[in-house]
């Protein structure tokens, strides 16, 4: 370990600490004072000056100057921020915001901290190409971390705020007085009924399409059109499904009556592309030799599919279907015009009657917040919905891992 590496390590440590402090201050809206900001940036700047001067003394190239230049920029940011007003009123430029100076301080601590630690890899590897590589890797780690942060923030908040609301009463009773008391029992049953009926509708359609695409189809116009249709269907916004379900199923098929079947049909359209995709993948994973062997023994194509191709691909098909149903369980837009009411629908009794469902329940409770005391109920509903959806997803993954066949 030589002095150059030591200095670089020091820069890295200081910058990372500043970045973490900046992130913390940003997240908690801490009132960062100017002197803290100034000290943090000056520390980074001073370390870079040190590193630059040392490099300049030991090597002949311009990289030392480059580091001195960067150090000066950081110092200048620190110094000129002194003139930042306490609250920058953007309304003078007709922008609807008043940005407090501590926001600017913590944000620039975060970004300058990350960038400074990124740059510190260059002197550590004496400006060789490994430095660029390690710096880039470091930035990729950072993006990975920032990708996962929202997930943990969401999970933590929902569990933390919602867990207290999940009681026996909440799970087993109908809503009382607009959700202030009582529970979500009919909504749970409604959501389950919805995905069950959806599964019954979507499975034959999805698997049938996948069998055609994987086993029968030859390259040609018809297949191209079908594939394009499936892709468009996959991208179609859920609210458009909702509109279609309302215009076709509710208005024409069921005479203007919202009902379980209309909602399930709409959700079936939504999940169809997911089921097709995964089923096709599962079928394609079965090696062609098996098919050839079966055909050579004199079996017909349909017998081959039924007896040889389908059995090993069932777990894959099931996984995809369950994943699709998990998505369907959490959707609100497709069912709000086609199947659900907030209260009064009761437990699902007939395909042709409206139901209550968890996602719509959450939406309705959200709208009541501020008018009625439903905060805890809303968070508990969110937690319950999350548990159901993620539970479905996890079971799909377990099916996949347990029954996966390798060829």
């Amino acid at each position: 370990m030589n002095i150059r590496k030591l200095i670089s390590l020091w820069i890295f440590t200081v910058s990372t600490v500043v970045a973490i402090l900046g992130f913390w201050a940003l997240a908690t809206r801490m009132d960062v004072e100017y002197w803290m900001f100034f000290v943090a940036l000056t520390l980074i700047s001073a370390s870079y000056y040190l590193s630059g001067i040392y490099h300049h003394m030991t090597e002949k190239d311009m990289n030392g100057v480059f580091m001195l230049f960067y150090a000066s920029i950081v110092l200048m940011v620190a110094a000129f921020s002194f003139y930042l007003p306490e609250i920058l009123d953007m309304r003078q430029w007709e922008i609807n915001a008043r940005i407090p100076n501590f926001f600017f301080y913590s944000l620039s601590m975060l970004f300058l901290g990350i960038f400074s630690s990124y740059l510190s890899f260059r002197p550590f590897y004496n400006f060789k190409k490994e430095g660029a590589q390690m710096g880039a890797y470091y930035m990729l780690y950072i993006t990975m971390i920032f990708t996962l942060i929202p997930l943990f923030v969401i999970l933590f908040n929902i569990v933390y705020r919602g867990a207290g609301g999940i009681t026996w009463e909440f799970l087993t009773e109908d809503i009382i007085s607009m959700g202030e008391r009582g529970g979500v029992y009919p909504a749970i049953l409604g959501t389950l009924a919805l995905i069950l009926v959806t599964a019954v509708i979507v499975l034959p359609l999805g698997v049938g399409t996948a069998i055609y695409l994987a086993e029968y189809a030859r390259k040609g116009l018809a297949v191209r059109v079908i594939r394009t249709a499936v892709n468009i269907l996959q991208g179609t916004p859920s609210i458009v499904h909702g509109l279609f379900g309302y215009a076709f199923f509710v208005l024409i098929l069921f005479d203007g009556q919202k009902c379980l079947l209309a909602g399930a049909l709409t959700l079936a359209i939504l999940t169809l592309p997911i089921v097709i995709r995964s089923a096709e993948e599962a079928l394609n994973a079965v090696p062609g030799d098996l098919r050839d062997a079966s055909l050579a023994l004199g079996a017909s194509k349909w017998q081959t599919i039924k007896k040889v191709v389908l059995p090993p691909s069932l777990p894959g098909i099931l996984t995809g279907t369950v994943l699709g149903l998990g998505r369907a369980a959490g959707e609100t837009a497709p069912i709000m015009f086609t199947a659900v009411y907030f209260s009064g629908a009761g437990t699902p009794s007939s395909l042709l009657r409206p139901i209550q469902a968890l996602p719509y329940h959450l939406l309705s409770l959200y709208r009541l917040i501020g008018y009625r005391d439903v905060d805890l109920q809303a968070w508990a509903t969110a937690l319950l919905l999350l548990i159901i959806v993620l539970g479905v997803n996890v079971s799909a993954i377990i099916i996949r891992e347990k029954y996966r066949q390798r060829f």
Binding site: L148, P237, I239, L386, N393, I397
Partner: protein, 293 residues
């Protein structure tokens, strides 16, 4: 008794019939949206693209909602593309297999959270946070919508880019490494350029998801039919096509319903065109590498 041949033929046509259902659905969606939208299109024509929305005076200009959809989607990409691409490159090129297997389910989890939950959290926590920080007029803002949609677009961008990065043949990378390039130089100069059409298709799909997202946006950006002045003022509340439909459908009657269906057609067309483009781009990648194998 029918012959085996005939039976096989029948099975074949049955499956073909089932497979055409998807095409029929697309066709039906378009027809039914159009039938419901037609009265509005006939009555208002190009007025539907104006910027004035006033239900009381029968003015139904959808431009503010279109603008909102585009602003939010572009903003979401600004958030999601750098993060998502970085994470995808990390997962596919750098992460050891152990960590990759560990992290992938988390990305799937992020995709699995229902959009109403995103909306709920975004409106209550993020909206409040931004309101406290920036002293805006209300808790609803484009900014909150952009941040939440950025997070929601992340998993699709990560997993699709990850797939297309992994599809780049190993020969190409090995050739680059054999010439003395570092791993990072190889990623930057060989792997990413080779996967670029797959990556752009991922970005387009992410944008499609952002434009089509309904519940989250509806709870977060408010439903104010107005183009902010100046137009880049993301601290204002606004509206998108999706949120407009979701909010207004509930109590709408008469001609408004037809106007909302027009908005639905716009959405459907925009997203369909984006899926087709993304599809072509993705096909181009696979064709390119399959020729090599």
């Amino acid at each position: 008794m029918i012959s085996r041949r005939a039976k096989d033929k029948m099975v074949h046509y049955t499956f073909f019939g089932i497979a055409t259902v998807s095409v029929l659905i697309i066709f039906f969606i378009f027809i039914f949206l159009f039938v419901e939208a037609y009265p509005a299109i006939q009555r208002f024509g190009s007025e539907l693209l104006s910027r004035d929305w006033n239900v009381a005076r029968n003015q139904f200009g959808l431009l503010p909602a279109i603008f909102g959809s585009v602003l939010v989607a572009v903003g979401a990409l600004v958030v999601a593309v750098p993060l998502g691409l970085g994470a995808a490159i990390y997962l596919s090129e750098i992460a050891p297999n152990r960590i990759r297997v560990l992290l992938k389910p988390f990305i799937e989890l992020l995709a699995g959270i229902p959009s109403i939950v995103y909306g709920f959290i975004g409106a209550i926590l993020l909206g409040r946070f931004l309101y406290d920080t920036f002293g805006m007029r209300g808790t609803n803002s484009f900014l909150a919508g952009i941040l939440v949609l950025g997070v929601m677009a992340l998993p699709i961008i990560v997993s699709m880019s990850d797939d297309s990065l992994k599809a780049v043949p190993k020969d190409l990378k090995d050739a680059s490494l054999a010439l003395g390039a570092t791993k990072w130089q190889t990623i930057r100069k060989v792997t990413i350029p080779a996967a670029i059409s797959g990556i752009s298709s991922a970005v387009i799909m992410g944008m499609g998801r952002a434009i089509g997202e309904t519940m989250a946006v509806m709870l977060i950006i408010g439903s104010v039919m107005r183009i902010p002045v100046p137009f880049f003022d993301i601290f204002e509340s606004g509206n998108t096509l999706t949120a407009l439909i979701a909010v207004q459908m509930g109590e709408a009657h008469g001609i408004i319903i037809n106007v909302l269906f027009t908005a639905g057609i716009m959405l459907f067309t925009i997203v369909a065109v984006m899926s087709i483009i993304s599809d072509i781009l993705q096909k181009r990648t696979t064709d390119k590498f399959e020729g090599k194998r």
